[in-house]
């Protein structure tokens, strides 16, 4: 089975639609949404509804920090993120807000573990940006494969039998076999707000049979989304980021 891992949609309808259309052409048997469906973007309601529909068809969905902040606190967020949460809250129905709040922080399935930020204290929303950060996650869970989002930049780490953690360069498209001799941590990148210099939506395909992982990039009409962000009166920076992918 081929699993599509999509993360950090952030209310970006155009990016989510493009990724789902791309995934349909790639024989995807299951979706896993790694959190942060809302925040930053102009279409939170539409994106939540779409992910709920995916869930009804069998997708796994976990909670991200922006999802948790809708009914919780946005105190720990930076000014832009907090402003976007304040803008988003009144645009979601009570039922959808409650659904976001009720999402699980982590899901374990076979030898796979899903978390938004890290397997280590998942509710603390720690960013994994180094081998050190990855090591904490590897130590907190013994699944062969951990899939996260949160960082908005795709990354791949491995932990060998001696416990050494290594970061690996990520190349889009080229399938990487995730050998059973190691444990792996995959940071899926971001669908709705990539920050690695490419404005294209980032996501990941994992083939459970061949154990091959591919980092994907899907182009979408970010000019349209950026225009919506400006029209909605959301912080200007959020529109600029989509154009530059930074």
């Amino acid at each position: 089975m081929r699993i599509a891992l999509i993360s950090d949609i952030h209310g970006n309808r155009e990016a989510l639609e493009a990724v789902l259309a791309d995934a349909r052409a790639r024989d995807i048997g299951r979706f896993v949404v790694l959190g942060d469906i809302v925040g930053y973007g102009p279409d939170p309601d539409w994106c939540v509804a779409r992910v709920q529909a995916l869930q009804a068809e069998g997708a796994l969905v976990i909670q991200g920090n922006h999802d948790a902040a809708i009914e919780g606190s946005a105190r720990d967020m930076n000014g832009t993120a907090r402003a976007a949460i304040d803008w988003t809250r009144p645009r979601l129905s009570a039922a959808r807000s409650a659904w976001l709040s009720a999402l699980p922080l982590t899901i374990a399935e076979e030898d796979r573990f899903y978390a938004h930020a890290s397997a280590h204290c998942p509710g603390d929303w720690i960013y994994i940006t180094s081998e050190r950060g990855a090591m904490a996650s590897f130590r907190s869970c013994d699944a062969s494969l951990t899939f996260c989002g949160h960082v908005h930049e795709p990354a791949l780490y491995s932990c060998d039998r001696g416990g050494r953690v290594q970061a690996h360069a990520v190349k889009p498209r080229m399938p990487v076999p995730l050998l059973s001799s190691r444990r792996w941590l995959v940071v899926a990148g971001s669908v709705g707000q990539p920050r690695d210099g490419s404005p294209q939506a980032g996501w990941v395909i994992f083939d459970t049979r061949s154990r091959e992982l591919s980092f994907r990039r899907t182009p979408y009409d970010y000019v349209l989304t950026a225009g919506k962000i400006q029209a909605a009166g959301l912080p200007e920076d959020l529109a600029l980021r989509l154009r530059t992918g930074r």
Binding site: H168, P177, S180, S181
Partner: protein, 469 residues
């Protein structure tokens, strides 16, 4: 993490395979004969010797092989049949190659030229095939060369290899440069694992050994000794074996250059020179009679103190390409304008590919049934005249000697001859012309269409602009 559950013993059954005789017990792995009801062919299973606890390099080498080998294909790679899960017992099952490695053959060196040159060309062509698939071997040595049932050369053991599109599991993790010391390139000593030209160096070392019976840097056993090759040049092969022709010394010493950019830029270029000795451009390497002097060595040693690496290939992974462009041109008078257009297109391509060589080719069409084969004087004259005309055409490009070669092919079927020649010289790009559409062309069929359909590489078709209707 839990240790593997099973250990290999004769008679063990795993995933349908039954272990037979133990064929080899090495430092890092054991190799077993195996059978499987679904596979009739002879097979072997390699099982890494995993000691309790942490034994990094053994496992990483096995992991690399498990990652890379299934992604390689073609006759020059052992075919993978299955691989085992680490949680149960890690293994890799491949076809069983008959016979032994080339070590014995190398022990007989120096080999006669008639045996050495075709063998060297064969190894270079096989290496190019691996490089083309974006894999650098990084441990080429006689013990890693074998032949398969069909007699084709096979490069084995990918435990130190690097796939340019996959994570490098060896990476920075291990402090010691890996590889077989007598054969590894200077940049491997400096931990570089991303330059296909490192394999060219190892090939040069093997060729030196075949030609002289000696290793270019002796039986290197220490890292200190490996480090010397950053500044110390080997004794010229001719000084060891005076029967060697200058062109062969040129090829060997070029492959063994310290700076990767001074070597052949692809294994295909090296194979090409081995197959066309008369077209090898001789430099001062060819006539070298002794090692560089003491002062020169000292100067290089002084400079080597600071060297941390060498110039990478101009485009990352560029040496993966053969770097052989083939230009096919029709020199008949009515094709003159088109031949000039082909020249212009070739010039453009070479401008953007400064490492590429050009092979100019012209086909002399012969009758299908040749009554006058080889002996006819006028036939010979025609061949020579064509070669002269072809050179005159190609010289207009102003390429340095050594970057361009000229060949006249005699064949009844030009399309077929061009495709076969391109395959033989491992060309990665063909430039040729197509006549304008005409009744004659429809009647005769198109040579260019045939080449486009059958060529093993990219083909650029050059046309004269058609007059406006």
């Amino acid at each position: 993490m839990s240790r593997s559950q099973k250990r290999p013993v004769e008679g063990l059954q795993i995933d349908g395979f039954t272990l037979g005789k133990l064929l080899h017990r090495g430092g890092f792995a054991t190799i077993w004969e195996v059978t499987h009801p679904d596979h009739a062919r002879p097979m072997v299973m390699k099982v890494p010797t995993i000691l309790d606890g942490d034994d990094g390099p053994t496992i990483v080498g096995f992991e690399i092989e498990q990652m890379i080998l299934p992604r390689l294909s073609g006759p020059h790679v052992p075919q993978v049949i299955a691989s085992g899960d680490f949680a149960v017992m890690p293994y890799l099952v491949t076809e069983k190659l008959p016979g032994a490695s080339f070590q014995e053959l190398f022990d007989r060196a120096p080999l006669p030229l008639a045996e050495l040159v075709p063998l060297a060309a064969e190894i270079a062509a096989a290496l190019h095939e691996i490089h083309r698939q974006r894999v650098i071997h990084l441990d080429l040595k006689p013990g890693n060369l074998m032949r398969n049932e069909a007699g084709r050369l096979v490069l084995i053991d990918y435990g130190l290899a690097r796939h340019l599109d996959l994570p490098d599991l060896l990476g920075e993790e291990f402090a010691i440069p890996m590889g077989t010391f007598p054969y590894i390139a200077p940049e491997q000593y400096l931990h570089h694992r991303d330059d296909p030209r490192s394999d060219i160096f190892a090939l040069g070392a093997m060729l030196y050994e075949l030609a002289t019976g000696k290793l270019p840097f002796g039986q290197t056993t220490t890292l200190r000794a490996v480090r010397r090759r950053l500044w110390r040049d080997p004794v010229p092969p001719y000084a060891v074996n005076p029967d060697l022709p200058p062109w062969l010394q040129e090829i060997i010493l070029r492959a063994l250059e310290v700076e990767p950019e001074e070597r052949f830029q692809s294994a295909a270029q090296m194979a090409f020179d081995l197959e066309h000795p008369d077209q090898v451009r001789l430099t001062q390497r060819a006539s070298k009679r002794q090692q560089d002097g003491f002062w020169q060595g000292l100067k290089r040693r002084w400079r080597a103190r600071r060297i941390r690496g060498y110039e990478a290939p101009p485009v990352p992974g560029d040496a993966i390409r053969a770097q052989v462009v083939m230009a096919a041109v029709d020199l008949s008078p009515e094709m003159e304008a088109l031949s000039q257009e082909i020249l212009a297109a070739t010039r453009e391509i070479l401008h953007f590919r400064p490492e590429a060589r050009l092979a100019c080719v012209n086909v002399l069409r012969t009758a299908r049934i040749q009554l006058d084969q080889g002996t006819d004087e006028s036939g010979n004259n025609l061949h020579v005249a064509r070669l002269v005309a072809l050179k005159a055409w190609g010289e207009a490009l102003g390429l340095p000697e050594g970057r361009v070669t000229y060949t006249v092919l005699e064949a009844p079927d030009p399309g077929n001859a061009l495709t076969e020649h391109a395959t033989r010289i491992l060309a990665d790009h063909i430039v040729m012309g197509a006549r304008a559409s005409s009744a004659l062309r429809r009647y005769l069929g198109s040579v260019s269409a045939q080449v486009v359909a059958e060529a093993p590489c990219t083909v650029t078709i050059v046309r004269l602009p058609a007059p406006a209707a």
